[in-house]
Symmetry: D3
Subunit: 183 residues, 6 copies
Amino acid sequence: METLGKPLLPALLALQPLETLRRTGWVLRGIADPETIAGHVLGTCHAILALGPRVDPPLDVERCLALALVHDAPEAKLGDLPKSAAELLPPGAKADAEEKAALEVLGALSPLALELFAEYRGRSSREARFARLCDRLQMGVRMIGYRRLGVAGLEEFAATVAALDCSEFAPAAALRAEILAGA
Amino acid sequence: METLGKPLLPALLALQPLETLRRTGWVLRGIADPETIAGHVLGTCHAILALGPRVDPPLDVERCLALALVHDAPEAKLGDLPKSAAELLPPGAKADAEEKAALEVLGALSPLALELFAEYRGRSSREARFARLCDRLQMGVRMIGYRRLGVAGLEEFAATVAALDCSEFAPAAALRAEILAGA
Amino acid sequence: METLGKPLLPALLALQPLETLRRTGWVLRGIADPETIAGHVLGTCHAILALGPRVDPPLDVERCLALALVHDAPEAKLGDLPKSAAELLPPGAKADAEEKAALEVLGALSPLALELFAEYRGRSSREARFARLCDRLQMGVRMIGYRRLGVAGLEEFAATVAALDCSEFAPAAALRAEILAGA
Amino acid sequence: METLGKPLLPALLALQPLETLRRTGWVLRGIADPETIAGHVLGTCHAILALGPRVDPPLDVERCLALALVHDAPEAKLGDLPKSAAELLPPGAKADAEEKAALEVLGALSPLALELFAEYRGRSSREARFARLCDRLQMGVRMIGYRRLGVAGLEEFAATVAALDCSEFAPAAALRAEILAGA
Amino acid sequence: METLGKPLLPALLALQPLETLRRTGWVLRGIADPETIAGHVLGTCHAILALGPRVDPPLDVERCLALALVHDAPEAKLGDLPKSAAELLPPGAKADAEEKAALEVLGALSPLALELFAEYRGRSSREARFARLCDRLQMGVRMIGYRRLGVAGLEEFAATVAALDCSEFAPAAALRAEILAGA
Amino acid sequence: METLGKPLLPALLALQPLETLRRTGWVLRGIADPETIAGHVLGTCHAILALGPRVDPPLDVERCLALALVHDAPEAKLGDLPKSAAELLPPGAKADAEEKAALEVLGALSPLALELFAEYRGRSSREARFARLCDRLQMGVRMIGYRRLGVAGLEEFAATVAALDCSEFAPAAALRAEILAGA
């Protein structure tokens, strides 16, 4: 029998804007049509695939990937609030809004999708902390990409990368060093 | 003597992202590269130029234009938070963040720029209320534009236009009727 | 009663292309998708908001903004003719065409819109001359923006900025100096 | 010996904007990023390759292609002036400007390039008249392409196609009929 | 110590084009700037998150996600060859090229990345077959998205969806039905 | 009588994607929205118009143009396979696929279109060899264009230009020298 209980197509269509939504942080630095959320998510997963298997003690790398895949899904409802926006909102307001949005956009997919988001958000597992770190490192890799296209004035992004705490995951520190050497 | 006290170029560059920042509401409805904030602001001013001189008793139309011109300037720091985001933030949080952002991005231009923003925000003058109404009507005009490009599924925008209270400004009601007839 | 006499929606739709029409001058220098007319207009208004209140004796800054808002409206009918095109047309031909186009696209909005265009065009008021100067300075600010994205070969734009006569408005001279220092 | 007399690279770079310059006529109908001049030229050549060999008495089809290839080159200096602009300029002003621009941008390539432009412009040969007709028919083919993407309100373009005089070239009349049937 | 053995930054930069590379199949149907590979991959993962937990007997959903994440990585070296290209190449040639490209672009990340690609390619596990099916269903979801933007002439894509064999995974059949109902 | 035997409109529409299809080689180097096939073809023709009349003994320059015009038409069916893809396919596989695609997309236009493709492909005439050389040189001119926009890391393209054999056509060697001097 072909039934899913309630329809899934609307839930999948509601997530499609992640394919075209631009990362606001780059727009506010003058890059007119920068990477999309989808691009950022895929880049984060590539960083996980590169660094994850090198971490010791071993990580559940596939869990890391699953966590990264859902981490920006709330933006399908919220848009992409840059760091400069989060800082002007009440403490915790952005995180609360994201949780409510996740409940809607990921809850419509499956309980698993929501569970992954909650784990990512809670940073309670090593996998969640590692996925978050790779999310930050992806920004550095993207910054290097824009440098090669000629973009100047990205020091603020380099500073964010430099300030990342990589102490829990040694391979991340090595990539951070590579990024800073190229910045 | 050629001096502005402190430099103005950085303040003007900080506002340039409004030229390329896309209106998130349309992106979340599947339009990949919709109008920018600058496009929205100009369209709002066109509506003011069309309707303002028809309002009775007369409005200070140039004041309306000046109010409209600054009304989305905080987005240069915040990005464009769609209605669906504002609804998930604490009451007043978006407005507070915009005021803080305005202080920075408009305050760096001139006291006049800030004063205009405060008047627009407070809705205390007829001019401010009219500028706000034209901001909403522009969304309806833009919706008609997208309809003509073939876009379906914009009923939510039409409903917002239908719900606008135009009782204070009769010519606005006439434009609203035109939009709804074309929707 | 909800009537505007004749419909305004078509007139507003006819001006929407200003939101997407690209400034030809940048395209001809190799920038594929440069700022739009709407972006240019908004940037010009930001320059007015920054410099206008500093001018002595005082200007009617809101009038300046209103003049700037309509100054490129004829391009909704003509497209954006770059300087290199104007120079190959008979003397006055571009200006004449713009006046005819303004009659159509702005005349359909309101007599005020047309009156503003005529004042801007005539350069008879200090406000009109200041708005024109800010239109030119915006090009310089935009040029700095493109420099930071890596674009080279924009000397011609810098030369135009350098040649601007800012003697009537001292604060404009200061911004010009900032632009040239950054160019 | 490797010499071209004077350098050709600047002349070739000066023509590159044709690769990104958008056809203004479509922009003014609400299509944000329509076909480029290069796209239009290639489409015109495809129409020539389809219809040309069917014309009787036979045409010099390669000459037709060469004429089509240069026909919009002046736009690298002028931008793309839509029909609505040409109508507001003095009679012949657009054509004169194009000839002057051609002298510069095509003259810098070779005498042949200029000669082709002059023949196209003069409509003295059957080949020139046929290339011009295919330039017009390409607009119709492009219109059908936009229809299939959902764009409405292109009746004006269909009317232009319907009014084309195809009496000199029977195969062109057949394509015109196909376009109008699909419009 | 901060070392990865050999540098990872070049490998991550080499995969960045997946963020901007457009899916050729849509381009060849007239959609100028369609979804990117990154968008497609993310959409595929959303389908997995929606359908995967509903499959009985249970799947290793995280494994499915990991397989989907790498499945188009070779396109960073090959570009996106549409079905119409694969059909004109020798049998197996596209698959062979992808395996060689995977060796390079995924091999540079980690052995795990390569292993995932091999499993996806071999279709030996239920997880691999399910990930492949969701890759195909995402095309259907994307098609519905384009329909809503007004795009016509996508029957070929609907036919591909209709022909999908969903017998191994009942929930996929339900989504297929939803897509076809909306097509 | 208005008949073409079989309809030509579908054949012309099938070639329209060349107007928007991006050259994959640039995408894989990080340029998000590079030149289209149409842009590349027009640029190649400009190089022919510049260099062709300078070649001694004289070339049939119009034939060269016609050959260049069809040379990438198969990409309307295949997409743009970059050099890195061709190298991973069996020897001759890309060329074979292009011939089959040409049969379809150019054969639908006219026998002349196919004949031109076959001559270009066979390199049997001086005109075909010259058109091919100009196709390669256009890549160099385009590279200079991207350099001026700030793009770094294009050495691979410069190396390809440096390696071009221009011995048969002296003027081509001069342009190559200009490109390398600017690279």
